[in-house]
């Protein structure tokens, strides 16, 4: 037995040495093809051409048009990624049932990031090289987006993503990454929308903020909120802020600190699970005022947090009062038994945008990229989307502000950051 192991090992090492030397030659080949591609970028190229030896079998020259989904299917943020994937698949099924695009069917190829940066890079490389996709539906998590953004420059596949941190779209010198796009309001815009509401509608003067200091999403929304407050010239200000981290259990001490500072509104831009705890503990320690939350307090938050969710105000990409949204929700529920959340509709809209674009310019990924950059006035379920070609963000995209009353979400107003 022991001997078997060792023999296997020796063979393995011998094999890997051969493989390594093989790899090296392939590396140099690789470099040549890379330089070729960079030279050729002026003339539109399909992404799979430079990878021709590898992608012969999967190239989209077949009878389907491939769209990649780089999503968190497992890991901490899987609930978000799975919803986007489900929405995208739903849209693709609809389109294919109606005959597809340009006579071809759409096909969704999902690669799991597992919520881990290293895995995400491998998954992205697979999509961009071997899978031969025309475009990629990007992840909703900033850290993953930040990791793949510099890498995306070396391929010619556009990534239509949802990570609201604008650093995903621009590098340190403020140059926009050519392939990265955002398809929901950025954190600056979302923070501004919430701040605007606090000042204009709630007439708040003293705001208390509670947020997670080890979470980029939370921090981005706080920054957006703060910069709107300081630019608006209003006398409302953040009187007290408290930060928590992943391993904190006791929010009551922090919430009391906000109450002691006389906060009339609490701003809590955090993940749903944390929001449930915060809402519960806030009500338990006697805070009855309004709590402003981000997208994460959208359904099913109200049903999960129970009575504590009353007087919670949140923003959403969609509103259930829109008949088409309600119809899809109902149908999806009937089909799968699961509830479609706002992330579902982000995925849904992006696939439809892609389908429209492909109808117009064909399935070439560079042509798609150029067309997406010029997108204006697309009427989706998540609002009227126009992409700003300068920064690749949606411009003036409105969000729906909801308030939870007696456990029910009520749409109050549509707001954009401008």
């Amino acid at each position: 037995m022991k001997k078997l192991w060792k023999t296997l090992l020796v063979l393995g090492v011998a094999f890997s040495l051969v493989a390594c030397s093989g790899n090296k030659t392939e590396t140099s080949e690789k470099k040549e093809t890379e330089t070729e591609t960079t030279e050729k970028t002026e003339t539109p190229e399909t992404p799979e051409t430079p990878e021709a030896p590898d992608t012969n079998g999967t190239a989209s020259s077949g009878d389907t048009i491939k769209i990649g989904a780089l999503q968190d299917i497992t890991g901490k943020t899987a609930t978000l990624g799975k919803m986007i994937q489900a929405g995208a698949q739903y849209a693709i099924d609809e389109i294919n049932a109606a005959g597809g695009v340009n006579g071809k069917k759409l096909e969704l190829i999902t690669r799991d990031t597992t919520g881990d940066v290293t895995e995400a890079i491998n998954a992205f490389t697979l999509l961009a090289t071997q899978d031969g996709v025309s475009a990629i539906i990007g992840p909703p998590v900033a850290n993953i987006g930040l990791a793949i953004a510099p890498l995306s420059e070396q391929y010619n596949v556009p990534i239509l993503g949802f990570a609201i941190d604008t650093a995903v779209l621009q590098n340190k010198d403020g140059v926009t990454y050519k392939n990265m796009f955002l398809f929901q309001p950025s954190d600056d815009q979302q923070g501004a929308i919430m701040a605007k509401y606090a000042i204009n509608e709630l007439n708040s003067k003293k705001i208390g903020a509670i947020y997670r200091s080890d979470n980029a999403y939370s921090l981005g929304l706080v920054d957006g909120f703060k910069s709107y407050l300081s630019e608006s010239g209003s006398d409302a200000k953040i009187v007290q802020e408290v930060q928590f981290t992943a391993t904190d259990t006791d929010f009551s001490t922090m919430l009391m600190k906000l109450m002691n500072a006389g906060a009339d509104v609490i701003y809590a831009p955090n993940y749903t699970q944390e929001l449930i705890t915060i809402a519960q503990q806030a009500r338990a320690v006697g805070y009855t005022g309004p709590i402003i939350m981000g997208l994460d307090a959208a359904p099913p938050f109200a049903s999960l947090a129970g009575a504590a969710s009353n007087n919670v105000i949140y923003i959403n990409n969609i509103t259930e009062s829109e008949p088409k949204v309600a119809e899809i929700m109902e149908k999806y529920k009937a089909e799968t038994g699961a509830d479609a959340t706002n992330k579902f509709f982000l995925g849904y809209d992006v696939v439809n945008i892609l389908a429209d674009t492909i109808t117009e310019v064909g399935e070439d990924s560079v042509a798609i990229r150029d067309a997406v950059e010029k997108l204006t006035g697309y009427e989706g379920l998540t609002g009227i989307i126009s992409i700003n070609p300068e920064n690749h963000q949606p411009q003036g995209l409105e969000m729906y502000i909801h308030e939870i009353k007696d456990g029910q979400s009520v749409m109050i107003k549509q707001y954009s950051a401008e």
Binding site: T247, M256, G286
Partner: protein
């Protein structure tokens, strides 16, 4: 405010104490750090969740069932991961690898069953908080503090006064001699794992109730138990309790005054400080590394 902080700190500290004692018990008997303890907590907390969501029972029966299951998970862990290692008298190294792997195993099972989502823990109390004059304390804190105190007192009594407790202490002191004295060593070790598992389950369910939600990441909180155990002295039960309460109080005070961001830095520095000035821990029982 000071009294308010004290109450919150004690409540948090009492849960840390449950984690730390479960950890210390195994350390005292087999002389290794059981890194699977966190994942055991998660697993048992989910058992508690499914039991109460499925049956609608009240708190006490849910706790009892969870503790029993937690104990059984402890027994299972001992059997699959540590029994043979102990029989071989292997080096601590093996326990370390074994416990980390066992933890990974439990954790991935939880992930497969429940996925990455979160679960809303059932609420056992009709009133979420109790007001005493100007002070407010969450009902869950009061219950946590009370039940933890009772359980820990029972544990100390069992260890000090019963035959089983004496056997446990004998095995932890010197396994071979205990064996020669006619103690069934493996039965005793099993008992220790059962108790440790039950304590971990109790801590897990409490954390679920206190947080109102439950995820597969709950087990990460075990770090607090480890740190408390170092402050209190590795392997000392009473030290673990003191260390945990101290840690709970310190954290609450730190969160209030400097915020939670740097709290791990502060606890690390305190841990290092203790190692420098009092390496044997608060309890002062120094465990020698045996040859």
């Amino acid at each position: 405010m000071a009294i308010q902080l004290l109450l919150n700190g004690l409540a948090v500290g009492s849960v840390y104490a449950l984690i730390a004692t479960g950890f210390a018990l195994i350390f005292s008997i087999l002389k290794f750090s059981n890194f699977s303890h966190g994942a055991l907590m998660t697993l048992s907390a989910f058992v508690g969740y499914f039991v109460s969501a499925g049956t609608g029972w009240s708190l006490i029966p849910v706790l009892i069932v969870s503790m029993l299951v937690g104990g059984l998970i402890g027994l299972f862990g001992e059997f699959v991961a540590f029994r043979r290692i102990t029989k071989r008298n292997s080096a601590t190294f093996y326990y370390f690898v074994s416990s980390i792997t066992l933890g990974t195993f439990y954790e991935s099972i939880v992930t497969i069953i429940v996925g990455a989502g979160y679960f809303v823990y059932p609420m056992f109390f009709s009133k979420p908080a109790i007001w005493i004059g100007n002070f407010v304390i969450q009902t869950s804190s009061v219950v946590m503090l009370g039940i933890s105190a009772i359980v820990l007192i029972i544990l100390v009594f069992v260890l000090q006064k019963t035959k089983m407790g004496r056997a446990l202490r004998a095995v932890s002191y010197d396994r071979d001699t205990a064996y020669l004295m006619g103690i069934d060593v493996f039965k005793t070790i099993s008992i220790a794992f059962f108790i440790s598992g039950a304590l971990g389950a109790l801590a897990g369910v409490f954390l679920g109730i206190y947080n109102y939600t439950l995820t597969a990441q709950l087990g990460n909180l075990v770090v607090k138990g480890f740190i408390a155990s170092v402050i209190g002295g590795l392997g000392s039960i009473s030290g673990a309790v003191f260390g945990a309460v101290l840690l709970g109080l310190l954290e609450t005070i730190l969160i209030f005054f400097i915020g939670s961001g740097y709290a791990p830095v502060a606890t690390f520095l305190i841990m290092i400080l203790f190692l420098f000035i009092r390496p044997q821990g608060i309890a002062g029982k120094s465990v020698q590394e045996k040859a």
